[in-house]
Symmetry: C2
Subunit: 275 residues, 2 copies
Amino acid sequence: MQEPLVLQQQAGSADRAPVPAASSRERSLDRVVQMLDFLHAHGSPIAVAELSRQLGAPRSTTYNLVRSLTEAGLLEETDGRVFFGKKLYLYGMDYSRENALVRRGREAVDRLSRETGETAELCTLQNGRYTIIYMCPGTRPFRISSAVGLQIPLPWTASGRLLLAGSDRAAVEALVPEADRFLPDGRRVELDDFIASIEEADRLGYCITSGLVDAVTMCLAAPVYDEKSRVEATLCFVVPIDTSKTRTDELLSRLLAEARQVSLGSREAQGRRGS
Amino acid sequence: MQEPLVLQQQAGSADRAPVPAASSRERSLDRVVQMLDFLHAHGSPIAVAELSRQLGAPRSTTYNLVRSLTEAGLLEETDGRVFFGKKLYLYGMDYSRENALVRRGREAVDRLSRETGETAELCTLQNGRYTIIYMCPGTRPFRISSAVGLQIPLPWTASGRLLLAGSDRAAVEALVPEADRFLPDGRRVELDDFIASIEEADRLGYCITSGLVDAVTMCLAAPVYDEKSRVEATLCFVVPIDTSKTRTDELLSRLLAEARQVSLGSREAQGRRGS
DNA sequence: TGGTGTTGTCTCTTGTAATGGACAAGTGTC
DNA sequence: GACACTTGTCCATTACAAGAGACAACACCA
């Protein structure tokens, strides 16, 4: 069980603002954005009255907005509960078709998974958390740790360390809420250690973590850089923790090669834009 | 090349309203919905000024809304052009994970494609057009006619005939705009013939079309019924036009079996809701 | 059956955002 | 360089929607 209020605030806080406490007379658009963020954090359909309560929004407003969004097809109502609608799915498909990073990243993940038989993922930073944008499961009978779209605390993952490259101590502190500094098994990730591992990942140009998300998993992650050489995404493998050094070296080199290719895509796009 | 204005109106018209001409003082939410629909119909990034012009919306309003939506992550701006943002992608993933029809339909499509090696699709009605919700390409070196999310005129497809089952003449006339009554090769689909084929598809419980979308393609479609026995989606195969009768019979029976299974999913959900 | 809490709709008021229009900063074109 | 046109920003105004609160319709329990 997760703490809905915490999730809501993280979702609402977008990138920096500490959630404006949903006070006074808000813009309808802001309310809508809050609703969508909350639904995403919630992850499943919710009753309108409950949604209103969780958001701290006036009931009449919430009912009105939900009605409008439902009529527009952005939300759908099933059994008295609302959730994302079909149109949002179609818009999402348009995004993944048109967005260069996602398109190239997905191709890379498919190649990596096909060639190695391992589970490969494309990940980014979203709302101060690690999010799997695309995943291709491996052939190995190995349970998948997480699903596409889910938000995972940054300290749990190798990718999280790469994605924070270049952030100073204050930024890391601001971006990683207290609740996210505990691993699933209850161990605490100390800020100093975490920052050290971020710096090391940045220096090495890759990151490997073992037994963080769970005791049997190892993550290998490589950074995808944008045209300004900032880490905008990662490619990663999720493999059993007892994978041999020879094998991980091999996987890592494939991973780094693909990540370089995807990064080049951004650079080319930049070149085209510049011309 | 397509006619953007026509597409825009179809997109904006939701399900019946003939686009309110974007007059007077519109609600911001309506404007946003119009923008999203237009972007979907347009299919690729567009300059804000151009978007404003195409929508017939005031420029200041458009710039304001685009700024808000971009800050919220619902849209993204690249090279002075805006398009759907990463958040919409994540919301879309949530939809496809939580929606029973899509989840079950996708599994069915994967099974059909894997077992037969043919291209299989899950399709629904959206904005008076046929839309591919999910597709799994076959192993055969056969070009794929269309991409996920694209909107295709109903008369071009077998699924289109099934999706209109139960609509009377007036409904069909209202739903299929004049421009959609021509096939890609320029041939016109007469309303009487089209309605007859809709009725036949409804009676048979499946539909097969040959050489409509192009001269080398055959489509086999089977209906997925919702809990009220209305056609809410279709499963279909896209195969070469010279596929043998034996083979199409075999494909059709697999298709019908899967479509029945997916339909049962809706019925079970209804049962759960009722209890 | 009455009591208590919840859900969803409706109305009215008032704060506020959508809009028209002015303006500055490009971008070609002759 | 002047001219025509476009792009993007910024106000002031006022039409309109966000919100408070009343109310009806249930649901649940004693």
